[in-house]
């Protein structure tokens, strides 16, 4: 589901790719480049430059973390869903997000980093996840809007990733995208039901749209001009479409959906530009985006604390399962002897 700007660095400060310290063997590098140029695919055991590997580990693990942390704001509403049907749908969606996280962790592990290392980086606050989850879900309408807009933005971002040059990531994304469509549709449908309800319900939808719209536009990441990592990502076939292009696609796709739903989008500058064949939209508040990315959004601390607590509370289960498996294995060995 949920990627943001994949060009966000994990470590504070450095916003661009560090100059390569290692020199890669020229013949292998040439073969790698030729494969990328021919739109080929790289598989786990193939040789790859260290910087390619590092970029992928960072991007795929950020993506995985986003899926896992993304379960939290919606999970908050499972106990409060307005009907059994909505509760079942929401549980299924949250379970999907967990599954997406697992596909992605597996993909990242093929690059030689362990699951524990990735989780540790997340829990220590060293690894990023999508900033969108550092905002609270205040009303039931937020759950619908997250499906419609947040998942909608994520789908825009993820469809080109199905063609990523790294095989395991691309395959994970194909699976994710197949499941994602349900997420967006259930959100939109739930909002349609509310829009047919009372004035208070309609207001609730509009309020949620107002709060989430700009954050969704920021999900696509900094403008191309401020996104130095994107160029290298494009060169490597990891990123196929630029942040600004994806953002534009999202705006163009969403405007008619909003109209049909009967809500307005909170941007006075939003209007159709005949000459460009696209919608123009107002400036995005990037200071707020970076503020949140760097740990100071309204829910950053709460999200991470919840994640760490869940991990720690589950430690005895993981240890017990492993101890049980070892005991059984030894019993089997004895029997065989």
């Amino acid at each position: 589901m949920y990627t943001q700007s994949m060009s966000v660095p994990d470590d504070k400060g450095s916003r661009s790719v560090q100059p390569m310290a290692v020199t890669e063997p020229a013949d292998r590098m040439a073969r790698f480049d030729a494969c990328i140029d021919a739109d080929g695919r790289i598989e786990p055991q193939d040789w790859m430059p260290e910087a390619y590997r590092k970029t992928l580990v960072r991007q795929i693990s950020q993506h995985a973390h986003s899926e896992i942390v993304g379960m939290l704001p919606e999970g908050n509403w499972i106990g409060r869903a307005p009907s059994l049907k909505r509760k079942a749908i929401l549980i299924a969606k949250v379970q999907d997000e967990g599954g997406h996280g697992l596909y992605l962790y597996s993909a990242a592990e093929t690059l030689g980093t362990s699951r524990d290392q990735m989780l540790q980086a997340l829990h220590e606050g060293k690894a990023k996840y999508s900033s969108i989850f550092n905002y609270p879900t205040l009303t039931w309408a937020d759950v619908g809007v997250i499906g419609w807009l947040v998942d909608g933005a994520a789908i825009m971002n993820q469809i080109p990733l199905c063609r990523c040059s790294y095989g395991p990531y691309a395959r994970a994304m194909v699976r994710v995208c197949k499941e994602e469509s349900f997420h967006q549709r259930q959100g939109y449908e739930s909002l349609m039901v509310m829009m047919r309800g009372t004035p208070a319900q309609r207001e609730m939808v509009q309020d949620a749209v107002n709060r989430w719209w700009w954050k969704c536009l920021a999900m696509f990441g900094p403008p191309d001009a401020d996104s130095p990592n994107s160029v290298q990502g494009m060169r490597w076939g990891i990123k196929r479409v630029s942040n600004d292009e994806l953002r534009q696609q999202f705006v163009d796709a969403t405007v008619p959906q909003a109209k049909l739903l009967g809500v307005s989008l909170p941007d006075p500058l939003l209007k159709w530009n005949e000459a460009r064949g696209h919608h123009d939209y107002g400036p995005i508040d990037w200071d707020e985006f970076w503020h949140t990315v760097n740990g100071n959004g309204p829910c950053n601390k709460e999200r991470l604390a919840t994640r760490v607590k869940a991990h720690e509370d589950g430690a005895w289960v993981r240890e017990a399962a492993l101890a049980h498996a070892r005991k059984r294995q030894q019993a089997n060995l004895k029997e065989a002897a």
Binding site: E43, P44, Q45, D46, W47, A92, Q95, D96, G99, L102, Y103, S106, A107, E109, T110, G112, S114, R115, D116, Q117, Q120, P168, R171, A172, R175, E179, R318, E319, A321, L322, H324, A325, R328, Q329
Partner: protein, 105 residues
């Protein structure tokens, strides 16, 4: 997802082992690799594979195999292993010219 993974895993002792998951989507088709997961043992790996890879009836049967049990060919041997087949085009039916009158053969 992959088979050979670098063994530089400091936390590996505490981590559940890795399993590769193969799913048969319907009777009559082969099991196909669909991903991997961590589980303490085979029974748990099967249950987890059910939840992770078949939430939408994607399968009627699951295999789980410890990742370390898989032996894979090395990409460096690709040429040596597979190139010898490249010049044996007579192994393909299209190599042979047969008169049209013969019909489908």
């Amino acid at each position: 997802m992959s088979t050979s993974r670098p063994s530089t895993e400091p936390a590996a002792l505490k981590e559940w082992p890795l399993w590769e998951v193969f799913v048969r989507s319907k009777q009559g088709l082969e099991h196909k690799h669909c991903g991997s997961l961590h589980a303490a043992d085979a029974a748990q790996a099967l249950v987890m594979a059910r939840d992770v890879y078949t939430r939408r009836q994607e399968g009627v049967s699951i295999w789980v195999v410890p990742s370390r049990a898989i032996t894979a060919s090395s990409p460096d041997d690709k040429g040596e292993l597979f190139d010898p087949a490249a010049d044996k085009i007579y192994r393909h039916p299209t190599f042979y010219d047969i008169p049209n009158e013969v019909g489908h053969m």
